[in-house]
Structure formats: structure tokens, C-alpha cells
């Protein structure tokens, strides 16, 4: 039995999903992290005489230039910063809030539970994009607002997930005995319960980062994004849309960047789910 599970584990690492996922996320992540060093100009240097140069036509511009004569390659790499920031920060924020809400409502139950769960119901009944459009019209676009909006729309998923797990663990022997010997609630919550439910949370989070990157690009595409001087994938797609038939490279490369990043995260998430959450609680 033990040898079987060992080879199983080994097999998992040889999994195609895992390999592809790590390559994509790792490669893009590294490029983005070192983007300031790779492209000191930040992709904002503008040269109107080089507008819309096709890929490989001009030395120094392997992916061509955009309508303002800026280096598409530099913008794609630097632009990843915004997308990854939005994706990661909003997922982290949602995880923290979701875990706390989920732990509290699952462990204590009662009135607190009812309040949190009704919040969750309301949240799930609201069509997110429509709300996002409305709210951004009020509070304006920009990085912070976008992140806050995504957090608000997503903490519920974690709260539900965590609450469900807590409910199933609450009456287990190890928790009951901890309680019996007088361990404080806060320790039970964070030392005993939390580690037992991190698997599904991490899975959900990976998938969430992927989804947030897509949402960010949608919102930017709808004209609700950040300062256009700062490159971002969604912004580049929106800008390049009018040139799609005459200068495909302006929007195809950022589009590919989104596709590959999100794909990498999804592959990793899918693989993690098989590894950390075999019961499939996060599959819905």
C-alpha cells in the first residue's frame, strides 16, 4: 500500500498538467518580476515615427510596436505586473476575509452564522459584472478599486468552503478533546481547524487568481481600467481592438499573454485539486 501511494505521488509530479503549469506560470512570473530590469523604459517610451511597426521589421522591436510606436514586447512583459497584482492581491484579500468569516460562522454557528450566510446569499444573487460597472462608474477605475471590488465579489466562495469544512470537522474527536482540555477557541480555530482545510482553499485560490486576471482584463476592456500610460494586458487588448485587422500584433500578443498565464494557473489549480482535495469539494 505504501509503495503504491509513493509511486502515485511520483506519478503526480510527472503529470503533464503539472509540468505545463509550472513552466507557464514560472516563466511568465519570472519575466514579470524581472521586467523592470529587463525593460528599464517600462514600455512607455513613445516614438510616433515607428507607429504600428510589424513584428521583426525593426531591430529592437521583435513583437512590433503599438499605435504610439511603443515596444509591444516591453509592454506585454511590464503589463503583466498590473494583471498579476490584481489577480494575486484580490485573491489574497478574499482568502483572508473568507477564512475568518467561514471559521467564525462555521465554528460558532447561531446568529453570526445566519448573518454571514445571508450576506453570502445576497452576494451570490448579484450579477457581478453589472455591479462592477455600476460601482466603477461611481468610485472610478484604478488598481485599488479594482482589487477591492474583486475581493468583495469573491470572499463568499471561501467563506462557504471553509464553513462547510468546519461544520464537518467541528464534532470530530480531536477538536472535541482539545475543547475538553480547555484549549482557547482562537487556538482551535487557527491551529487545529485551519491546517485541515487549507488544501481546498489553496486550490480555489489558484483558480481564483486565474479568474481575476480575466475579470480585470474584461473590466479594462470595457473602459473601466487604469491609467493608459501604465501598460496592462486588458488595456492593450482594448487599445489594439481597433487595429485588429490592420495590425494584429498589437492585441494578439497581450491576448496570448493572458491566455497562457491563465492557462498555467488553471493547469496548476486543476493538478492541485487532484492532489490536495481528492474529495472534490472545490469542483463546484
Amino acid at each position: 500500500m505504501t509503495t503504491a501511494s509513493k509511486t502515485d505521488k511520483l506519478k503526480r509530479f510527472k503529470n503533464l498538467e503539472f509540468i505545463l503549469g509550472v513552466l507557464l506560470v514560472g516563466g511568465i512570473g519570472l519575466a514579470v518580476i524581472f521586467s523592470d530590469w529587463l525593460f528599464p523604459g517600462g514600455g512607455t517610451v513613445l516614438d510616433l515615427s515607428l507607429r504600428l511597426t510589424p513584428p521583426l521589421a525593426e531591430p529592437g522591436y521583435p513583437l512590433g510596436t503599438d499605435p504610439l510606436g511603443r515596444d509591444v514586447l516591453a509592454r506585454v512583459v511590464v503589463g503583466g505586473k498590473i494583471s498579476l497584482k490584481v489577480g494575486v492581491y484580490s485573491a489574497l484579500g478574499a482568502v483572508v476575509i473568507g477564512i475568518i468569516m467561514g471559521l467564525v460562522s462555521g465554528y460558532y454557528g447561531g446568529f453570526l452564522d445566519i448573518i454571514v450566510m445571508r450576506f453570502a446569499d445576497v452576494q451570490l444573487a448579484l450579477p457581478f459584472i453589472l455591479l462592477a460597472i455600476t460601482f466603477i462608474a461611481v468610485i472610478g477605475g484604478g488598481l485599488t478599486n479594482m482589487i477591492i471590488l474583486l475581493i468583495i465579489s469573491q470572499w463568499v466562495q471561501y467563506a462557504r468552503l471553509v464553513r462547510g469544512s468546519v461544520l464537518s470537522l467541528r464534532d470530530r474527536e480531536f477538536i472535541l478533546s482539545a475543547k475538553a482540555i480547555g484549549v482557547k477557541d482562537i487556538r482551535i480555530l487557527f491551529q487545529h481547524l485551519l491546517p485541515n482545510l487549507m488544501g481546498p482553499v489553496i486550490v480555489l485560490m489558484t483558480l481564483n487568481v486565474a479568474n481575476n486576471i480575466l475579470l480585470e482584463s474584461s473590466l479594462t476592456f470595457l473602459g473601466l481600467g487604469v491609467d493608459p500610460v501604465i501598460p496592462s494586458w486588458g488595456g492593450m487588448l482594448a487599445e489594439g481592438r481597433t487595429y485588429l485587422q490592420t495590425a494584429w500584433w498589437v492585441s494578439v500578443f497581450p491576448g496570448l499573454a493572458i491566455l497562457l498565464t491563465v492557462l498555467g494557473l488553471n493547469l496548476l489549480g486543476d493538478w492541485l485539486r487532484d492532489t490536495l482535495d481528492p474529495t472534490g469539494r472545490t469542483s463546484l
Binding site: P67, D227, P228, V229, E239, R241, T242, Q245
Partner: protein, 509 residues
């Protein structure tokens, strides 16, 4: 159940319908893509230019202004002014009928303006443009007198459009305003036969039009908001004309490269400027404002970003505008001098300014980025803050919460600098949140009571020069109206103000 049936019948009938839309390929019918459904076709309800592009075909005004921008007789054959312009007598065209056969006469004119200036009109935005009219008096069946409380030099122009379109009294009295909103009726060359809110409106030729029957049998306006979608429809041959403001500059090449479609452009009264916050930040200093203007090569922006589809402006009006002085030169592009001025004003290199723009304006987004890069050239770091258009227009600008510079796009449909200048520079106007200049106020008020047009033109030109001296904004350009047109459309003349009458337009195969 009923709804499911409608849907089902729609899907089933769909093939027939799409055949009908493809039938725009048959002679006699034309399909137009318009970016917005005004929701109501009642002239007093709206100010949207896309209302006008359809309604110009459905209604007539007392006067008419075509693509050449000359005022000619419409439903009035002639007019005479008395009492320094406080009293105008119109002689009306005889034998004109509305689409339902109702006769057009002096009563219809009186009804139209009583409605516009009364309770019904007060609920809409149009009334405020016609408040100079005190009352309309019926002299006989085909003569009416307009009595004005003060002379209004642009009234005759305003009678050619929008709220002043003549509506049928009996029809409205019988069916009510709500019915009229969606089943409009006028004396124009086309009548509305079907209106599907947010989808399309279908027009048919009105054979009995006083100006002669139109050449087309049928015109369908489809509402398509997304520029890329409208252009795709044009390329696929399912739309014959895409009207402004839809086509972004970046898509001109796409349309021209495609077989059977091309872009037709015409200089329009629409102007763009970056206006300055004269109350806070470095832009309170006139020298700084001038320096910022000098730092930007506006001609280069027009040549590259606008692909030549625009013209430099010296003040905030286009070349066709009454009050534009062709002799007046724009402040030149001179980064050297700009740096000097900034130095004199004690502005440190690296000082930051913020430019507020409309977030969904693709072309201007590029323009703003180029401006920012020119400013960088004189040591000013500009950031661009995109806002949702309506937030910028209704909140940020009127409340005076903009950055140092903000985008102002202005339609100027009266082609008269009065309208623009008064709203932009007069103390207390909503488009003028920052500045108050007694001398400017005085000039603006003075020109309104002058009926001698030459004298008024001189004063308007003086106003334009004065705003340039004070560098109240960075005038950028006037921009052309862009129409995407299929080759099968004949005799199409693009209208600078988007109000195109399709009487003479024809289609060929």
C-alpha cells in the same frame, strides 16, 4: 407563455428576417448603423445627436439646414424680422400634410411651441434652448408671428433642429404623449413604420413629401454601440452606412482596405481641447499654461494619431463656426520657449500634472498619451486619469474636481461661437468651474444683444483672441465626422453635424 412564443417566432422567423436584412442588398432599401437608441422620438425629449440623425428624416422644421450648413426655407417659405429681432413673421408652406394625412398649418406651429414651452416641454431638456420665444400667434392659416422676450441671434438656426420640429396636434391629442414617443409622426420625407426599442427603427418613404418623394423605399437604422461590431457588420455587407460618432480613427484603414467599403469624412464642428484648472496647481500661472501649450506639437498629433482627419484650431471652435477668425494663429509649438517660461514661473522639472479624460474614447486616449509624452519633453510628468464619460461630464468637471488639465469635447451644432463661448467662459456656467473674468463676462453678454451680425462676429472674434491671450485651454483640433459607407450607396453626402437627410440617397448593385 406569450414571451416564449414571441421568442420562438423570432427565432423561426429569423431566417426570413436575416433574408430581409440581406435584402438591403436589393435596390431601394438601406441599412444604417447608429451607436445609440434615443429611446423616444419626441423632439422635446432628447438632445442626442443620434436622435437627430434619424429624426431629420421624419420631421421638418420651419427652417432647414442641410450638409452645406446654409439655412434655407423648410416648412416656412419666408420670414421677416421686425422690432430689432423681437418679432418674426413666418409664411408657411401650403398643402403640406403629416404622414397620417393631418394638415400642416399655423395651428400646428402654435401647438408645437406651446407644447415645447409648456408643461410637457418642461419635463425635457429642449425647452431651455427656446426660452427667448414668449409666444406664438396665429395670424391666419398660413401665417404665424413669433414674439420674443429678447432677440436671439441663433433662433433661426435652432428652428432647423431638435425641439423645434413641427408635430401633429390632432394625432398627439388623440393618442397621447407616450404613444407619440414610440410612434412618431412628422411631415418629413420618411415615416416610421416599426420601432423595436434598443434594436432598430424602420422607415419607409413618404411619397407625399412636399420636397418630392425620396429615392429609397426603406431605411433601417440598427443600434450598434460597439465600434468593432458596427464595422464588422459593414464589412459583412449587412450595414450600408455607419454614422458618427462610431468609427475610431484606428479603423479607417480597416474599412478602406476592405473590398467595397470606404470611409467618407467631412470637417465637423466638433472640437477638442485640454482645458486648464486655473484655480489650483501649477496651471494657475498663465505662463505655465502657455508653456504647456507650446510644449505640445499639435500638428504632429493630427498627422499621426488622427491620420490627418482633423485641423488645428486657434480657439475652441472649428473653421466653420461663426466667430472663428481665420487670421488668428494657434500658439506655436516651441518647446524651447516652453522650458524658459516654466523656468520663469519657477516650476521644477519633474513636477506632476494630471490629465482627466473620458475612459471609453479610444482615439483621445492615444492623443492624451502623446500629449503626456510631449510634456515629459519639457520636464513635466503627466498622469492620465480615465473616467467614465458621464462621471467626468456630470460630476468631476462641474464640481471643479479635475486635475490640472481635463478633456473637453464639444459638438457646437449651432455653428456659432456664442453657444460654446458662453457656456465655457461665462462666470457660473457649469462648464466653467474655475474661472471668473469680468471682462470676458461683459463681452459675452454684449454680443447676445447685438443683432448686427458683422458687429457680433467682430466681438466673438475678440472673445476668441482674449481666451487665447489668457491661455484658458490648450486648443487641440477640430475633428472630422467619419462615415463608413458601402460602395452601393449613391449620392451620399456626409453631414458635418450628423443630421443627414436621405432624400437623394440611392442604392445600386
Amino acid at each position: 407563455m406569450k414571451k416564449t412564443q414571441t421568442l420562438l417566432s423570432r427565432v423561426v422567423a429569423g431566417t426570413a428576417l436575416s433574408a430581409a436584412l440581406y435584402a438591403s442588398a436589393q435596390a431601394g432599401s438601406l441599412t444604417v448603423a447608429s451607436p445609440q437608441d434615443p429611446g423616444s422620438w419626441d423632439p422635446i425629449d432628447t438632445f442626442l445627436v443620434n436622435w437627430a440623425s434619424v429624426a431629420t428624416n421624419v420631421y421638418d422644421g420651419l427652417t432647414y439646414r442641410g450638409p452645406d450648413l446654409k439655412l434655407v426655407p423648410g416648412l416656412a417659405t419666408q420670414w421677416e424680422e421686425f422690432d430689432d429681432g423681437r418679432h418674426i413673421r413666418f409664411t408657411l408652406r401650403e398643402g403640406v400634410t403629416f404622414h397620417n394625412g393631418e394638415a400642416f398649418n399655423a395651428e400646428a406651429v402654435k401647438f408645437t411651441f406651446d407644447r415645447l414651452l409648456g408643461e410637457e416641454g418642461a419635463q425635457g431638456p429642449q425647452r431651455s434652448n427656446y426660452t427667448a420665444i414668449e409666444n406664438v400667434e396665429v395670424i391666419d392659416d398660413y401665417t404665424v408671428d413669433f414674439h420674443l422676450s429678447e432677440p436671439d441671434p441663433v433662433l433661426l438656426t435652432k428652428l432647423a433642429g431638435y425641439g423645434a420640429m413641427i408635430v401633429p396636434p390632432e394625432y398627439i391629442t388623440e393618442y397621447g404623449d407616450d404613444h407619440f414617443n414610440t410612434h412618431p409622426m412628422g411631415t418629413g420625407p420618411f415615416k416610421v413604420v416599426e420601432y423595436n426599442p434598443r434594436e432598430n427603427v424602420q422607415l419607409e418613404a413618404y411619397e407625399g413629401h412636399w420636397g418630392g418623394a425620396p429615392k429609397l423605399d426603406k431605411v433601417t437604422y440598427r443600434f450598434i454601440a460597439e465600434p468593432a461590431t458596427a464595422v464588422a457588420e459593414l464589412q459583412a455587407g449587412r450595414v450600408d452606412i455607419v454614422i458618427p460618432p462610431t468609427i475610431p480613427i484606428g479603423m479607417i484603414k480597416t474599412i478602406n482596405n476592405h473590398d467595397g467599403t470606404s470611409v467618407v469624412s467631412v470637417p465637423s464642428p466638433t472640437v477638442e481641447a485640454l482645458r486648464f484648472n486655473t484655480q489650483s496647481g501649477i496651471t494657475t500661472d498663465e505662463r505655465v499654461r502657455k508653456a504647456l501649450i507650446m510644449a505640445v506639437d499639435r500638428q504632429a498629433i493630427i498627422d499621426s494619431i488622427l491620420a490627418g482627419e482633423g485641423e488645428m484650431i486657434a480657439s475652441f471652435q472649428s473653421a466653420q463656426s461663426f466667430g472663428n477668425d481665420p487670421e488668428m494663429e494657434p500658439i506655436p509649438y516651441d518647446p524651447q520657449r516652453a522650458r524658459q517660461l516654466l523656468d520663469e514661473a519657477g516650476v521644477e522639472p519633474g513636477t506632476r500634472v494630471q490629465i482627466d479624460v473620458r475612459g471609453n474614447d479610444a482615439t483621445f486616449g492615444e492623443v492624451a498619451q502623446v500629449v503626456a509624452s510631449y510634456l515629459q519633453g519639457v520636464g513635466i510628468t503627466a498622469s492620465i486619469q480615465p473616467y467614465e464619460t458621464n462621471v467626468l461630464l456630470n460630476d468631476i468637471i462641474p464640481a471643479g474636481r479635475t486635475g490640472e488639465m481635463f478633456q473637453q469635447k464639444w459638438g457646437g451644432w449651432t455653428f456659432d461661437f456664442d453657444n460654446t463661448a458662453y457656456l465655457m467662459y461665462h462666470t457660473g456656467e457649469r462648464w466653467n468651474p474655475y474661472d471668473s473674468d469680468a471682462k470676458l463676462d461683459e463681452m459675452l453678454d454684449a454680443q447676445r444683444s447685438i443683432t448686427d451680425q458683422d458687429e457680433r462676429e467682430d466681438l466673438l472674434q475678440a472673445i476668441a483672441r482674449y481666451t487665447q491671450d489668457r491661455a484658458l485651454e490648450m486648443p487641440l483640433y477640430s475633428i472630422n465626422a467619419l462615415y463608413g459607407v458601402r460602395d452601393r450607396v449613391k449620392n451620399f453626402e456626409p453631414a458635418p453635424d450628423n443630421r443627414m437627410r436621405l432624400t437623394d440617397v440611392d442604392v445600386a448593385d
